[in-house]
Each structure stands twice: as structure tokens, then as C-alpha cells.
Symmetry: C2
Subunit: 192 residues, 2 copies
Amino acid sequence: MSDNSTKKQIILEAAARLFRDKGYSATSMRDLADAVQLKASSLYNHIASKEEILQTICFDNAHRFLAGMTEIEQLQVSATHKIEALIRLHIHIAKEDLTSVTAFNDEWRHLSEPHLGNFKSLRKSYESRFKAIIEAGIQAGELRPLHASVLLYTLFSSVRWLYDWFKPERSLSADMLESEIITILLNGMILK
Amino acid sequence: MSDNSTKKQIILEAAARLFRDKGYSATSMRDLADAVQLKASSLYNHIASKEEILQTICFDNAHRFLAGMTEIEQLQVSATHKIEALIRLHIHIAKEDLTSVTAFNDEWRHLSEPHLGNFKSLRKSYESRFKAIIEAGIQAGELRPLHASVLLYTLFSSVRWLYDWFKPERSLSADMLESEIITILLNGMILK
């Protein structure tokens, strides 16, 4: 990454943290400049507005989840293995890029049109494709015959705490954490 | 309930909805008055400030969770059954009282001291008591030998989506929803 793109990522992560802690509306460009130790005038060299930051964060993350989905859909494996790969995708994105918290914490609701509509379409598409894999798993007798929506939203929701709680320095390693979450969720979903 | 206490509950729920949608900081008493169709001056007959609303919501919910915990701790049943009862407690509170979303959506971070410290202590106490039940279940060989924290936070987090998604009028009944969530989470946790 160039210095400028590194700086931009630092700004985006600081913004995501401020949105989470203060809320999008209450966060000012001044707060953001302070958080990244830049003068407001220098901040504007990197980013034009708070709305632009929100758009960048929302669409970068949406495309990241969708790219992961496209890769996983093409795997020649069972529905259960695809779901395992999707849970890992959620955990990896949560751990690697704090900005993804913004998409989960509903800050995307502050997008203006047409961005809001576009973002909702991407989100809906991701959910439908995920649900199709769950339905295939139920059909194949791999998963418990429950409502696909309940399985989907319970699974989405269950990794949200990583944003609040996960600190890499704790005694629990990132790999062990991942493997334990996978154990809980997969055993919750599959028929044995 | 007297008319006044009904009105107060309506105000609290409207406030919780505004906090969730706009964020606590961005919500004004004027927004709240509009939401409950009162003049600002009448609103102040029921409630003194935004901070008072936040305090009421946070502490009412904290005490509700702790009262549920005290009742469940005293049951003469296995750790697994206690955990099932606790999951039901979380689902019931989510369904019955929208104001509990405030505690989950981290709006409590906006409490001022000493309220913030008091709230954190109550929260920590609830988490410790929940974790003790999980640890007893692991010890007894009922639950998978995973980190109690991972089990606890995955479980807490997994019911958060009810606030965004659950609409009683959908084809899925509230009872069926509850039973499916219990199935997923308990099977994820218990050893068979």
C-alpha cells in the first residue's frame, strides 16, 4: 500500500471506531481529525466528507462479503462446509478490519439515496445467497429442519460480539476463538 | 397500570426506538415529543431529561435481567436447563419490551458517572453469574469443554437480531421462533 492508502485506511478505521462509540450523527470531522492527529485541512486531502467515509466503508465491506460469497458458492463441497466457510469469512472480516463493524451496527442507515437503496440491495443479495445455501443444506438433510431465516439471523448475530469483546492479547488465541465459535454454531445447525 | 405509568412506558419505548435509529446523542427531547405527539412542555411532566430516560431504561432492564437470574439460579435443575431458562429470559425481554434494545445496543455508554460505573457493575455481576452456570455445566460434563466466555458472548449476541428483525405478524409465530433459537443454541453448547 502507498502511504496515502495506508493513511486512508487509518482514517476509515478511526471513523468506524467513532461511529461505534459516539454514533454517526454525533461524530464530527473535527472529532475525526483529532482522532488521527491531523489538522482538519489535512484531513480533507484524504477524504471529502463524513458521508463519503460512510459510503466507502459500507460499499467496501459489502463488496468484500459478496466476493467471499462468490468464492464459497463455487466450492464443490457440502452445504455444511460452505456454511463453515461463511462463518469463517464473517469472523475474519470482523478481526481484520474494524470498519466492518459499521455495517453491522446499522450505521448504514445514515446513507443518503441512491446509496442507501444500493447498499440495501447488496445486503439483500448477500442474505438471499446465504439463505439459499442454508435451504440446500436443509433439503439435503444436513441441517436441522428449521426456518432458514432463524438459522441465518442467529448466525449473523452471533459473531457481532467480536467487535466489542475480542482483544488479540487475551489468553484465548484468535485461532482457538474461531474454532470454538465454529463448533458452537455448526453443532447448533447440523443434524447428527 | 395508571394512565401516567402507561404514558411513561410509551415515552420510554419511543425513546429506545429513537436511540436505536438515530443514536442517543442525535436524539433531542423535541424528537421525542414529536414521536409521542406531546408538546415539549407536556413531555417534561413525565420525564425530566434525556439522561433520566437513559438511566431509567438502563437500570430497569438491568434489574429485570438480574431478577430473572436470581430466580433461575435457585431452580433445582441441571446447568443445561438453567441455560435454557436464561436464553428464554433474553428472548422474552427482547420481545416484550423494546427498551431493552438500549442496553444491548451499547447506548448505556452515554450514562454519566456515577450511573455509568453502577450500570457496569450490574452488567458485570450478571455476566459473572451467567458464566458460573456455564462453568458448572462444563464441569458436570453437560456442555462442550470450550471457553465459558466464548459460550457466553456467542449466546448473548445471537439473540440481538430479534430487535431488528422480529415482527410478530410474520408467518413464523413467536413460540416457534423461540423454540428454534433454543434448539440451535442448546445443541451448539451441549455434549451429546
